[in-house]
C-alpha cells in the first residue's frame, strides 16, 4: 500500500498530526518541568495517550469499517491472508503515531540534556515501549471493532470503548495506585526522582499489550448472508483477550515503580556542601548561588546555627535523616522555568524534613509554623532580601536574635516541634 494511497484513502494516518499538535501545545503551555528527568519525560509525555488513544481507536475503526463495507469486503475475504489489508491499515495509523511519540520524547530528552537517567536507559526504553504498545493496542482495538460495524457507528463505538477502558484499566493514580493497569503509562505531574521502574510490571504489561494487540489485529472476518462476522477461531481468541486483561491484574505486580531512595550525587562547595540530582542541573546554578548568599549573610551577622553542614535536594523517597544536612525540595514552578523565590530557598533550608511528625496524619502544632516562619524572616532580613508574596506581619511574625535562632534550630534538630 503506497503512502499516497494510504493518505487519500485512510483516516488513521491523520491521527499523527493531531498527536504532534498535542505535543506542541504541551511544550508551549506547560513550561516543560520534566526537562532533564528521563523517567518523568517518558511518563509525562505518555499522558497525551489518554487523548490520542481513543482518537486513534476511532479513526482505525472507521478505516477497518470501510474495508469491510459492501462493495469492498470481497477484496478482504477473497484475498489470501485476508487480515493483511486490515493490519496494514491499522499500521498506517499506529506507525506514524509511534513515530511522532518517539520523536517528541527524543527531542525532550535531548533538550533536557538527559545523559545519565537515574532509572537507567534500559528500563526507561521499556517504559517508552509500553507507551508505544498502548498506541498499537488502541489502534488494534479500533480496527477489531470497526470490522463488524458501519464506519460512523464503528468510529463512535471504538472511541467511547477506548475512553471507558482508559478509565477502567488505565490508572487513576499515575502509577501509584498499587494495582496493575494494562493501559497505565504513568502520566503524572510530579517528578519521578526517588523511584525506579518495576521491570516485572513493565515487562508483563508489554507482553500482555503485545499479545492482545496481535490477537485483535489478526481477528479474522468472514461474510455470511451480507453480514461481516468474526471467524470462529478469531471470536474465541477475542474472548481470550477479554479474559486475559483481568487475569493479568491478578498475576502481575501492582506497583509500577520501585522506591529508589538514593541521595543526590552532584555535589559542590563546603559551607554548606550542596548536593542536587544530576537531572536538575539546569536549575542548580541559581539554587547554589542563592544558598551561598544566604549562608554568607548568616555567618557575617553571627547566626551560624542557620547554616547547615550540607544541603541535599530531596526526592519523593529520600530526605536527610538529621538536621546537620538540610533537605531542600526544588519546587515544580522552578522546574517550569520560574525564578526561585528567596522565601522558598530559606524555607527549604530550615524545614526539619528529618522529623517524622511532619509526615504524620496530624500536622505539627501552630507553634512550629510560627518558629519556622520566624527563622525564614530572620534569615531574609539578615541578607536584606525580599520576602516575595509572603509579607512580614509584625502582629504575627517575629525576627529572632542569634540565641533564639540557635534555640529553635536545636529543638528542630531534636524534632521537638512544640515549645
Amino acid at each position: 500500500m503506497s503512502v499516497r494511497f494510504a493518505a487519500v484513502t485512510l483516516f488513521g494516518v491523520w491521527a499523527a498530526p493531531v498527536h504532534l499538535v498535542g505535543f506542541i501545545l504541551d511544550f508551549s503551555l506547560t513550561g516543560m518541568p520534566y526537562r532533564g528527568e528521563g523517567m518523568w519525560t517518558v511518563d509525562w509525555l505518555s499522558g497525551v495517550l489518554w487523548l490520542v488513544g481513543p482518537l486513534a481507536a476511532a479513526l482505525s475503526a472507521v478505516d477497518a469499517a470501510r474495508f469491510t463495507r459492501p462493495g469492498r469486503v470481497h477484496l478482504v475475504v477473497t484475498a489470501a491472508g485476508h487480515q493483511r489489508p486490515l493490519v496494514w491499515a491499522a499500521m498506517w495509523c499506529a506507525v506514524p503515531l509511534m513515530g511522532v511519540h518517539l520523536v517528541a520524547v527524543g527531542v525532550v530528552l535531548v533538550l533536557g540534556g538527559v545523559t545519565r537517567p537515574s532509572a537507567g536507559w534500559g528500563p526507561m526504553m521499556l517504559a517508552l515501549a509500553v507507551g508505544l504498545l498502548v498506541i498499537v493496542w488502541c489502534v488494534a482495538l479500533g480496527s477489531a471493532i470497526g470490522r463488524f460495524l458501519g464506519p460512523i457507528v464503528a468510529g463512535l463505538a471504538a472511541g467511547v470503548v477506548c475512553v471507558v477502558l482508559f478509565l477502567v484499566i488505565g490508572d487513576e493514580g499515575s502509577g501509584f495506585s498499587g494495582r496493575f493497569a494494562l493501559l497505565e503509562t504513568g502520566a503524572g505531574s510530579a517528578p519521578r526522582i526517588g523511584y525506579g521502574y518495576n521491570l516485572d510490571y513493565l515487562g508483563g504489561q508489554a507482553l500482555v499489550l503485545a499479545v492482545t494487540a496481535g490477537v485483535l489485529l489478526l481477528l479474522g472476518v468472514r461474510e455470511r448472508s451480507g453480514r461481516v462476522l468474526p471467524t470462529v477461531g478469531g471470536a474465541l481468541l477475542a474472548l481470550g483477550v477479554v479474559a486475559v486483561v483481568p487475569a493479568a491484574s491478578a498475576v502481575l505486580p501492582g506497583d509500577r515503580y520501585v522506591v529508589d531512595a538514593s541521595p543526590p550525587d552532584h555535589c559542590s562547595g563546603s559551607m554548606p556542601r550542596i548536593c542536587t540530582y544530576v537531572e536538575h542541573d539546569r536549575v542548580r546554578a541559581d539554587l547554589v548561588a542563592k544558598i551561598e548568599v544566604l549562608s554568607e549573610a548568616a555567618l557575617d551577622a553571627g547566626y551560624p546555627a542557620l547554616v547547615p553542614d550540607a544541603v541535599h535536594e530531596r526526592s519523593r523517597t529520600y530526605w536527610p535523616d538529621n538536621f546537620d544536612t538540610r533537605g531542600f525540595q526544588i519546587p515544580t514552578e522552578v522546574l517550569e522555568g520560574q525564578e526561585m523565590q528567596w522565601f522558598e530557598v530559606a524555607y527549604g533550608l530550615v524545614d526539619p524534613v528529618h522529623c517524622d511528625a511532619l509526615r504524620a496524619d496530624i500536622g505539627p502544632p501552630d507553634e512550629f509554623w510560627g518558629d519556622l516562619t520566624a527563622l525564614i524572616f530572620t534569615w531574609l532580613d539578615l541578607a536584606s532580601l525580599p520576602t516575595g508574596d509572603r509579607w512580614f506581619d509584625p502582629d504575627h511574625d517575629r525576627l529572632l536574635s542569634p540565641g533564639e535562632t540557635t534555640e529553635v534550630i536545636d529543638r528542630f534538630a531534636r524534632c521537638e516541634l512544640e515549645r
Binding site: S2, T9, G71, T78
Partner: protein, 242 residues
C-alpha cells in the same frame, strides 16, 4: 502479461441452503475458458452461486473446485463495487495487485497491462471520482483481472450503463476471456447475445438451461413476453421474479 494456463470451475452436486426458504442446487457444472453468462430472475440464486464460487459463502453440501495456475485463482467484481474515489486508477490497481500478492517487480507491468486491456491507459493518473460510470465499471473489471486470475466472476457488470458503454464493456470482457473462465451474471438479453459463448439459466435455485446462445434461442416460447426469440426464450425459462 504471462500467458495463462487454462482455468476451470468444477462443481459437483453443489448445494447452498439459506435457512428453509431457499436452496441453490444441487448443481453440477464444469466451466471452461471463455465467457459464460449466468442468467436468472432476481432471487433465482445468481448472487448466491457467485458468493459460493468466490469463497465468500461455503456450500452446504457438494464440492466446488477452482482450477488454474498459482494461488490467487479468482478475480471478482461484485454488483456494487465501492471504489476509493480520491485515489487514481493506478494507485487503486497497485493496491489490489499488492493485496493479491503480485510481486512488487511485476506490479507496474500488471497494472499497465490491465489498464490497456480495459481501455483505461490514458486514465492512468485520473482520480476515480473523475471517471464516467462506464469507465468505473471497466476499472472494476481491471481490478478483477490485475492479478491475472484464471477464473473471473463479474456480477451484473453492465448495470446502469448506456448502450454505448455496455458495448465497450462487452468487448472488454470478451477480449479478456482467452484461457480464462469468465462467469458473467446478467439479466440483460442484449448482454447474453453480445457476449456469446455459453449460457446457464437458473430458476428458483435450479439449473434449467445450459448451452449456447443458438441453443437458447431454440427454447423460444411464443406465449412468453419479449420481442425476439432470445428474449422470449430467456423470459420463458427464468419465469417470474421472486
Amino acid at each position: 502479461m504471462t500467458v495463462l494456463s487454462p482455468g476451470a470451475i468444477v462443481a459437483k452436486d453443489l448445494v447452498k441452503k439459506h435457512g428453509r426458504r431457499f436452496q441453490l442446487g444441487p448443481l453440477s457444472l464444469h466451466l471452461e475458458p471463455g465467457v459464460t453468462c449466468l442468467v436468472g430472475a432476481n432471487g433465482a440464486g445468481k448472487s448466491t452461486l457467485f458468493r459460493v464460487v468466490a469463497g465468500i459463502d461455503r456450500p452446504s453440501s457438494g464440492s466446488l473446485r477452482l482450477e488454474g495456475p498459482g494461488s490467487q485463482l479468482l478475480g471478482y467484481l461484485p454488483e456494487e463495487l465501492d471504489l476509493p474515489r480520491a485515489a487514481t486508477c493506478e494507485e487503486f490497481l497497485h493496491y489490489v495487485a499488492w493485496l493479491h500478492r503480485v510481486p512488487r517487480k511485476d506490479r507496474d507491468a500488471a497494472v499497465t497491462s490491465v489498464l490497456e486491456q480495459t481501455r483505461l491507459l490514458d486514465r492512468r493518473q485520473s482520480k476515480i471520482r473523475e471517471l464516467s460510470k462506464g469507465m468505473r465499471q471497466r476499472l472494476g473489471i481491471a481490478h478483477a483481472l490485475v492479478h491475472n486470475p484464471p477464473v473471473v466472476l463479474l456480477d451484473e457488470p453492465s448495470g446502469g450503463l448506456d448502450p454505448r458503454q455496455r458495448a465497450v464493456l462487452r468487448e472488454t470482457i470478451v477480449g479478456n476471456a482467452q484461457n480464462r473462465v469468465v462467469l458473467v451474471s446478467t439479466h440483460l438479453v442484449e448482454d447474453v447475445r453480445g457476449l456469446g459463448g455459453r449460457v446457464i439459466v437458473i430458476r428458483n435455485g435450479s439449473l434449467v438451461f445450459d448451452g449456447s446462445v443458438v441453443e437458447l434461442e431454440r427454447c423460444d416460447v411464443a406465449s412468453a413476453p419479449g420481442e425476439t426469440p432470445l428474449e422470449r426464450a430467456v423470459s420463458g425459462l427464468i419465469g417470474e421474479s421472486e
